[in-house]
Amino acid sequence: MPRYLLIFNRERSVRFLSHLEEVRALERTLRRANIPFMYSQGFSPRPIMSFGPPLPVGFSSRAQLMEVKLDKHLTPEEIIFMVNSTLPCGYNLSEVKFLNENYPSLGSFPMEISYLLLVEGNGIKLSINSFLSQPYYQVLRKDNRKRREKLFNIRPFVLHLEIINQAEVSNFLQTMLLRRQKMLLRRQKMLLRRQKINISNDSNELNWLTHNQNTLLFFQSLYTTEGSVKITELEKALNVKIIDGERISLARHR
């Protein structure tokens, strides 16, 4: 049965949804869109779908991932069209990829997740350098099942961390985002416009960055089945306060 990867943007007020709320909202969107889900077998059939790593509440994103199995074949354009006309305001389906059969399923491979973080704090450069120069950075984590705390090294899950110049943000993004993705977005906007459905023009701009004097960080994390780093842990490790953030890409780690 055909399998697809759906990549959503999220911005404005839907940034404040929790992972579970987002999962439910997107599942209902696909039902409304009459996407022919494939259902699991058994006593309580559920649509076969999986989601990418959870995003912190309050973060916007250009890479919210969802994998679905469908009953019949649809073109990516058809899916984009069907879904975008019934998405809650703030979401936008920017890309759909057909996955061939031997492509590993979402979550089975390690991922590189890139974020832009707007942070507040003193001596950020120093704390970044000292964090990166060490092979270990231990944090205390609660082990829910065993009800005790254990030490966990988050350093290996931080792939990249650097301060970037506010003025260069858009250049930076240009190189970060794949050209193909932008093209798709443009094409789909045209499609929607033809159907007289309004979508905002600023969906590809970081408007939350413009009127701020805070530091901007580029942060790339590694997400694996063995572990990952939580944004709040990074916040503590660098002794900063994260004011805003955006997930800008999500790719397979090689």
Binding site: V14, S18, T29, R31, S44, P45, T86
Partner: protein, 594 residues
């Protein structure tokens, strides 16, 4: 138009999606061009409010079919309130994020007495003077609707008007009148004098308590000096549900409400006439929607929302004559991808079958026998013979369920010691029956909920005495000692809450001082066990020198809600009360409505 910026602190509150709005199918109209702007408020948390279809029905009715604008707001949780107060941000509507005091009308959905302090908190946070007499020409009109509005005397000084009954037609009439007067800049007082001529509208400030020469209250009467103030306020209902508006594009909330589902409404009113039940008397007569209409509405709603569950709602769904046909139609059309929910089923064997075909994964059922003895069930007009109780439980066990929830009341009129004690052998016998017939692998479990009876206005029991807190605890304690784990879980409705419900439900205007004082001390979310602080109320009663216990006594003389006519004559209520004491049942479908 300045929009309140909340995004910079939303990260700091629990469940920010309670406050963001933007749900699929929510409607954001143009603020500037709307001739009248109304805020519709459910005075509890978002996830409770979003489960109430009544206020959402009015939201859609007005937004979809008129030029007027309605936006929603709910009670902010403690953390949000703290931030709003600290940063001096007024409470706002979800859609346009406008402060509540910028609206022309604020409508509260009053479903429960223990949301009263939340009402005051919301007005206060919205920058609106709490007392009706303190509000100026630029303040919104404060309207109360919902079942509690038919007897909300203890809140009367805070409201400009109450609307009694089903509000679809009446609200539109109110909005039309307000729109006319907004253009003419009529004074607040004159608008209220105009509005009181709309059927179903009760303007409390136009009535005052009158006394005879001996100083005995004669009840409320219109204030002197005005003409055209009705002496009796007739409750409104929608006569024809078949033609009535019903929202087909229903809200799909992000934050899961307690009932996270789409809803169709099978019918309004109730055949049964259980003598303790307000809803059964307030919304008579029974009015059905036809099967083809419900089939059509259900399909459209499912398509428009993507919900995986559909609630088939009414007071007693099993009284809907085509319920089985409707369930079979929905099952045939949507199969297992749609779960049906039947929230209120009467205790009959046929209900079990319906529950099973509506959701084959179902493992529990809920019924309310209310009283354990045949005699007491006759007193309350439950029309439920013991045999039927046993047969229903037998059928429940046979159908593979392993959990049964049963509701009982204590403190019902004429209740004797043996009536309460009889709950124990009845439940134990039922459990034996269930276990003997069970087909589920797991042992059968009973969840028993015991609630103190609270006499409700507009019912035959409106004058009855309410059980004291101490007696409630005693009776519940006895039941707890007899029915316990592992076979039974016994829970109670908090007697302290029942106490407050009883006091404020049958209270008069004097009590508004107590509610105000409790609110000032910090009372919020009083209907939540973890938040109810009874000492705030104790202090408030003492300071205001009001003895709450007198409100629990049997009532003589005029009643505070007497000018509200709910469609049944006082004689009929009295006749029903007399019959109750004679332990006689009535067929409520034969009641003659005025």
């Amino acid at each position: 138009m300045e929009i309140i910026n909340i995004e910079h602190f939303l990260n700091r509150v629990i469940s920010p999606s309670r406050y963001t709005g933007g749900e699929f199918n929510s409607i954001k109209k143009n603020w500037e061009t709307a001739p009248v702007r109304m805020a519709m408020i459910y005075p509890d948390l978002y996830e409770i409010g979003m489960s109430n279809s009544g206020h959402l029905l009015l939201y859609y009715l007005i937004n979809e079919t008129t030029p007027y604008l309605i936006e929603r707001s709910y009670a902010p949780y403690f953390d949000m309130e703290e931030i709003l107060r600290k940063e001096k941000i007024p409470l706002f509507s979800l859609e346009s994020r406008q402060p509540l005091n910028k609206f022309d009308i604020i409508g509260f959905s009053l479903q429960y007495e223990l949301t009263f302090t939340n009402v005051l908190n919301i007005l206060d946070l919205g920058g609106i003077p709490l007392l009706q007499k303190d509000r100026g020409e630029n303040d919104p009109l404060i309207i109360g609707g919902g079942p509690v509005a038919s007897y909300a005397e203890s809140m009367a000084p805070f409201f400009d008007l109450f609307f009694v009954g089903e509000a679809e037609e009446g609200l539109l009439e109110i909005l039309n009148k307000v729109a006319q007067h907004k253009l003419k800049q009529t004074s607040r007082k004159d608008i209220l004098l105009e509005l009181c001529s709309i059927e179903g509208v009760y303007v409390p400030s136009l009535y005052e308590e009158k006394y005879n020469q001996e100083g005995v209250s004669l009840g409320l009467e219109p204030v002197n000096g005005y003409s055209g103030i009705p002496r009796i306020i007739n409750r409104r209902i929608i006569k024809d549900l078949e033609c009535a508006y019903y929202p087909l594009k229903q809200m799909v909330p992000f934050k899961a409400p307690i009932h996270d589902r789409a809803v169709v409404e099978l019918f309004r009113g109730c055949f049964r006439g259980c003598r303790f039940c307000l809803a059964g008397y307030l919304y008579r007569p029974v009015r059905f929607r036809s099967l083809p209409l419900l089939q059509e509405q259900s399909s459209r709603i499912i398509e428009n929302t993507g919900f995986e569950t559909l609630g088939l709602t009414s007071f007693n769904s099993s009284d809907y004559p085509y319920l089985k046909e409707l369930i079979l139609f929905l099952k045939k059309t949507y199969g297992d991808k749609l779960t049906l929910s039947l929230p209120s089923l009467s205790m009959r064997t046929s209900s079990v079958e319906l529950a099973c075909i509506s959701d084959k994964r179902r493992t529990n059922l809920t019924f309310a026998p209310e009283a354990a003895t045949e005699r007491l069930r006759k007193v309350i007009n439950k029309n439920l013979p013991e045999e039927e109780i046993f047969n229903t439980v037998k059928e429940t066990a046979k159908q593979g369920m392993d959990l049964l929830k049963l509701y009982f009341m204590i403190g019902l009129p004429t209740e004797r010691e043996e009536d309460v004690q009889a709950i124990v052998p009845l439940v134990k016998e039922l459990h034996k029956t269930a276990n003997a017939h069970r087909t589920s692998k797991r042992p059968f479990h009973f969840n028993i909920t015991v609630s103190p009876f609270v006499p409700k206005p507009h019912t035959p029991f409106e004058r009855e005495k309410q059980l004291s807190i101490k007696d409630c605890y005693e009776k519940i304690g006895y039941l707890k000692s007899q029915l316990h784990e592992p076979l039974f879980t016994l829970r109670e409705h908090d007697p302290l809450m029942s106490f407050l419900e009883g006091v404020f439900g049958r209270g008069d205007r004097n009590l508004h001082r107590v509610i105000f004082s409790a609110f000032q001390k910090g009372a919020r979310f009083d209907g939540w066990e973890e938040h109810l602080k009874i000492n705030y109320y104790q202090q408030a009663f003492t300071e205001e020198e009001i003895d709450p216990l007198c409100y629990l006594e049997e009532k003589e003389g005029p009643l505070p809600w007497e000018m509200i006519n709910c469609g049944l004559s006082p004689e009929l209520l009295k006749r029903e009360r007399d019959k109750a004491f004679r332990e006689e049942e009535s067929d409520a479908s034969l009641f003659t409505d005025i």
